[in-house]
């Protein structure tokens, strides 16, 4: 009787996600233009990817992206959360403002940065350039495009981590903090020996999620540069999307999607191993 209650959720989930995901995995071994009959080609799609310069560039960009998001926003979030713990008064206010970018649509955030900050014509960059300090638009330079996008995503993202870390920090037992204080711990000692170990599970989880999410990043790249200029900011998800809908190479797109999923799967496996180890101790 009760089990029937599971049916609507599972039915929708299986039809929308599970079946198409299984089909994608099958399509990764086929050549298909989205219209005719798929033709089985074995590992040809993967072999093509291995030889594709753009694929390696996209994969490299995903790795750079992961490295950036594992460090900068987590450090910013931790630091701001600790400072909010020290400040106490006003922390609720700071928290709401820091979180605010998270509720703004990515398309809008992207356009505000593009037009009002990066643009050499209408943005702050242009203003600074006209004042005599030439600032190129980071989004149009192959060397900086990816970082230009990352800054926008950072602005949108770090406050979320800050709020999560702040919530976790408030759960650290008061006695531990009190004891460290009586012993005369400095700010950094407090952070290093009391607060950070106290919220380690949360930090680990957020790092795992960061790795998974870094391989899924799509919106900001697609809206700001579409992977350009010259594929310099291409990531796996935009490569897959473009292959499927612009080049109608659905088999190749499916192969890329499978590669992205493998990274997610590997990360999840590592996480489960870590959890199990923690359990043993």
């Amino acid at each position: 009787m009760h089990r029937l209650y599971l049916v609507p959720t599972l039915l929708i989930n299986v039809v929308i996600i599970f079946v198409p995901a299984a089909l994608t995995i099958a399509l990764a071994f086929c050549r298909w233009d989205g219209i005719g009959m798929p033709v089985f080609v074995g590992l040809a799609n993967f072999r093509q990817l291995m030889a594709d310069r753009v694929f390696w560039m996209a994969l490299g960009n995903n790795v750079i992206w992961t490295a950036i998001f594992l460090t900068v926003p987590i450090a910013m979030g931790l630091l701001a959360a600790t400072m909010m713990l020290i400040a106490r008064r006003g922390s609720a206010f700071f928290q709401v403002i820091y979180f605010l970018p998270m509720v703004i649509a990515t398309a809008i955030t992207a356009r505000v940065w593009q037009g009002m900050i990066y643009s050499p014509l209408t943005g702050i960059a242009g203003l600074v350039t006209r004042a005599g300090f030439p600032v190129p638009n980071p989004l149009t330079q192959p060397a900086t495009a990816l970082y230009g996008i990352a800054v926008v995503d950072l602005w949108h993202w770090w406050g979320f981590l800050c709020v999560i870390f702040f919530a976790a920090l408030r759960q650290v037992p008061q006695e531990q903090i009190e004891a460290a204080r009586i012993e005369g711990a400095s700010f950094w000692q407090m952070l290093r020996y009391v607060l950070l170990p106290g919220i380690r599970p949360t930090i680990t989880l957020m790092m795992i999620m960061t790795i998974i999410w870094s391989f899924l990043v799509f919106d900001f790249v697609y809206i700001l540069t579409q992977g350009g200029p010259a594929f310099s900011s291409e990531v796996l998800s935009t490569l897959a999307y473009r292959s499927a809908f612009y080049d109608l190479a659905v088999g190749k797109a499916a192969a890329v999607a499978v590669v992205i999923s493998l990274f997610g799967l590997a990360t999840t496996a590592v996480y489960i191993r870590l959890q199990a180890k923690e359990f043993d101790q």
Binding site: M1, R3, L6, T9, L10, I12, N13, I16, I17, P20, A21, L23, L27, M76, A80, M83, M84, L85, I86, A87, V96, Y98, L100, P101, M102, V103, I104, A105, I108, R111, V112, G115, M116, I117, T122, I124, L127, W155, F160, V163, I164, A168, I177, E178, R181, M190, T202, L205, M209, F215, L216, S237, A240, Y241, A244, F245, A253, A257, I260, S261
Partner: protein, 277 residues
């Protein structure tokens, strides 16, 4: 209790927090400021105060982005998704919280696994399948996709609310002769309604803001969502940044008003959902 006694630490802390505050608010301030300016003045400086208030930016944005239609589409899409996620999600969450069935771990694991799957893993067959069935440009079909993607989050969040309800309440109702369905709908649902409200708010926000799926599945001009129509407006139809920022402000304002009014629910739901998940 204060963590640190020293006054310098205190001043430094507030300074740093204030700088982060400015960094966060600066782009939003640019958005609001420039939505009121004529394009020619934005080219001179995005920072200057409007010489004339160009309220007609909003009128042009409203017409060019066809917000009369597209906002309605977005609202309909959000409403459908909220109804679907809340109804199916609360049923599932109830079972996962209450029943000691062996399979619940598998169900939970499966649902969590789908949240870490890239959208591209199921997007392409789904798109071409929907195209065959004539479901492209169908708002209801898109709300089904959103339901599949967002319901794991909703189930995990609602489950914690169901877990908090004492078992005795349910048993008492059963002894009084209520059916299982009555227990669920008359006893449990009213108790967990705060949780359902939180879920509804966040699902509404996500579907209002969503880009990738909306831009792929709703392409006909009269079926676009507000966000996608903003994206097209700013990409192709105009380079008048006053108008673009006005369009952005129109989409963002209801969201920010709701967020500020119900901040605790938003933050607990969005931050809590991903931590407990």
């Amino acid at each position: 209790m204060r963590l640190i006694e020293s006054r310098t630490t205190f001043v430094l802390t507030y300074t740093a927090l204030a700088i982060l505050l400015l960094i966060t608010l600066f782009p939003i301030a640019l958005l609001v400021l420039n939505s009121l300016k004529p394009a020619t003045q934005i080219v001179q400086s995005p920072l200057s105060w409007p010489e004339v208030y160009r309220w007609d930016n909003f009128v042009r944005a409203w017409n060019d982005a066809r917000f009369g239609t597209t906002m309605l589409n977005s609202a309909l899409l959000a409403a459908l998704t909220i109804v679907l996620v809340c109804s199916t999600g609360s049923l599932t969450a109830y079972v996962l919280a209450r029943c000691k069935i062996k399979s619940w771990k598998i169900v939970t694991f499966y649902l969590l696994a789908t949240t870490t799957a890239p959208i591209q893993l199921f997007l392409f067959p789904l798109y071409f399948g929907f195209a065959k069935l004539g479901l492209i440009n169908n708002v209801f079909a898109v709300s089904l996709i959103y339901t599949a993607i967002y319901s794991p989050f909703a189930v995990m969040l609602l489950r914690t609310y169901f877990l908090a309800v004492p078992k005795e309440l349910e048993e008492a109702a059963l002894i009084d002769g209520a059916t299982h369905w009555q227990v669920f709908s008359k006893v449990m649902l009213p108790i967990v309604s705060p949780g359902i409200l939180t879920v509804a708010l966040i699902i509404g926000l996500y579907s209002w803001n969503e880009f990738l799926i909306a831009t792929t599945f709703l392409q006909r001009t009269d079926r676009l969502t507000a966000v996608v129509s903003f994206f097209l407006l700013s990409g192709q139809y105009t380079s008048d940044w006053g108008e673009i920022m006005a369009a952005a402000l129109i989409i963002v304002t209801p969201v920010i008003v709701l967020f500020v009014a119900l901040q605790r629910r938003f933050i607990e739901g969005m931050a809590g959902g991903s931590v407990k998940g």
